[in-house]
Symmetry: C2
Subunit: 69 residues, 2 copies
């Protein structure tokens, strides 16, 4: 299991938090995703055998947010 | 049919717009609700025989936003 903190741009409210957490938690291999709205980050615990950073970024971007690389 | 523009505080993104419009459109007697995110307003076309300002304000506040009176 690994943990990564993504810098997510454009999250402004509780709905955004839910959208990003929901999208990340749906990625196969993600065990837990938690957004810190004030920090503008999403911290993700995931199984490196099953997913990777690219898939997580894509899930967030599909919700309309930018992920700083 | 009457039209009122509510000043809604705290809307920050497209999700907020959807939440407020959705809540207003569910009020019986509301024909059409439209949020202008930049202006921070919700303009509502409604039937005065079926609803009133208080019910519309309540619907918006139930979503977690303040309506300036």
């Amino acid at each position: 299991m690994a943990t990564v903190t993504l810098k997510v741009e454009g999250m402004s409210c509780g709905h955004c938090k839910s959208a990003v957490e929901g999208a990340l938690n749906k990625v196969k291999g993600v065990e837990q995703a938690q957004v810190d709205l004030e920090a503008g980050t999403a911290t993700v615990k995931y199984d490196e055998q099953k997913t990777d950073l690219e898939k997580m970024k894509q899930a967030v971007e599909d919700q309309g947010y930018d992920v700083a690389s």
